[in-house]
Symmetry: C2
DNA sequence: CAGTGGTCTAGACCACATG
DNA sequence: ATGTGGTCTAGACCACTGT
């Protein structure tokens, strides 16, 4: 064990974490499933229970697993409440976070344009799937959204019904679990298509959110540009 | 110890954390200063070294302390690099995060208006200090900023030079260490004063950032509204 | 009741920084 | 050489969950 650590130059608990993460990525344990107990993992991997615990504690902090006293350790799943907490930052000015309704306008398979290829880090020849939809909060259309996916990861998705919670679809049907995302925000003037879809005048200030999402295995898996009316809604960002 | 834990219903490592946090709040150890070693703290508080470690690990995660192997554990300070990382999310589209230059337009002491009193949770009669400034990135004015402070926490600040890094001033001169902040973002049309200050046409879309900052002792200590041109700059938000 | 995660302890050894 | 935090282990006991 000491030798392994010297060779790897990584602490044992991190090697343990990486190994467990790899198993989740490989689908050995699916989202929502229970992992073996600390004792069992420690015995199987030949490390102490404390080391397994530290690995699992890190994975808890990364939201890869959820631990419940008396029950076990479970692979985290992207259910609505987690999406709302982690990946949906638009909130009605007066209220709680709520999941928006959505109406799909178009789904299309095409060669990625240069912007999409850059965002998704794809080859020039690569195909992408483009989804356009309008999302509403409190019956009020407020987000005009373009989603671009690498066709290689999501083949056939264009023939499925597009659910409201896309990330759960990615995870359950394609084994692509979104782990984190980077958003870049700007204020822009509404152009004709989005003004139309949102029922505002062209030129109205909109919040543009440019998101690139990365799966837990490190692959970039989605590029999404959302144009949002912010007259009744705001984007919440906690600085900790 | 067992008795204390049963009474408090809080685990020992959390009690230890709370006690250490209180000492930092009280100024027993100032920002940048070194804490006693784990061994010393464990002996003084009558707990094991592992418990002190767990308390300090939590405080590290909360960015209250910084630990350096071989040197010691230090109270975190709000130096420029940390501000940039934690509290300044505007970045030039092409470049790295950089600290903006700033020019103060006005400093004023007044009775808080209703909005300010609500944001800062102050009594109707309370006084506030209002600072107006313009901040520039790459020589280009891009943020028009209104800062409102409770006069009770910052008496005399209106007679000081206003430095670029305000949070360090709060911490060093007033013992108010900002620990976290909540930002609410909207896209708005530029009004006359900010259009003028930023050199854009009235009606230009601007990113409005409404921030309420809270000190490590839980007191709300600053309300700040920033109006930002986002033609060359964006707001970065990491979703983890 | 048995099995799980959560807390707490004690001690050994390693890696790093400083004098 | 000394002292610091970082890693790893082993074991005890508590609190919660389901049977």
């Amino acid at each position: 064990m000491a030798a392994e650590q010297l060779l790897g130059a990584k602490p044992l608990y991190r090697q343990t974490r990486d190994l467990l993460v790899q198993r989740i990525v490989d689908g050995v344990w699916a989202p929502g499933e229970v992992l073996p107990s600390e004792t069992q993992l420690a015995a199987e991997l030949g490390v102490s229970q404390g080391t397994v615990r530290k690995a699992l504690d890190e994975m808890t902090a990364e939201r890869l697993v959820v631990r419940r006293q008396g029950r076990g350790t479970f692979v985290a799943s992207l259910d609505d409440s987690r999406i709302l907490f982690q990946f949906f930052k638009l909130i009605a000015d007066d209220g709680e976070p709520r999941f928006p309704a959505s109406r799909v306008l178009e789904v299309e398979t095409m060669r990625g344009n240069p912007k999409a290829r850059r965002a998704l880090q794809l080859d020039p020849a690569a195909w992408v799937i483009a989804i356009t939809r309008v999302r509403s909060l409190a019956e009020e259309p407020c987000v005009f959204e373009h989603i671009t996916l690498p066709a290689a990861y999501f083949s056939g998705i264009e023939e499925r019904p597009i659910p409201n919670n896309l990330y759960q679809l990615y995870a359950v049907d394609y084994g692509v679990t979104v782990g984190r995302a980077t958003e870049r925000l700007k204020a822009v003037a509404a152009g004709a298509p989005e003004a139309d879809a949102l029922g505002v005048a062209a030129g109205t200030p909109l919040l543009a959110i440019d998101r690139v999402a990365t799966a837990i295995d490190g692959r970039i898996c989605e590029w999404r540009v959302s144009l949002c009316r912010t007259d009744q809604v705001h984007y919440l960002s906690d600085l900790r």
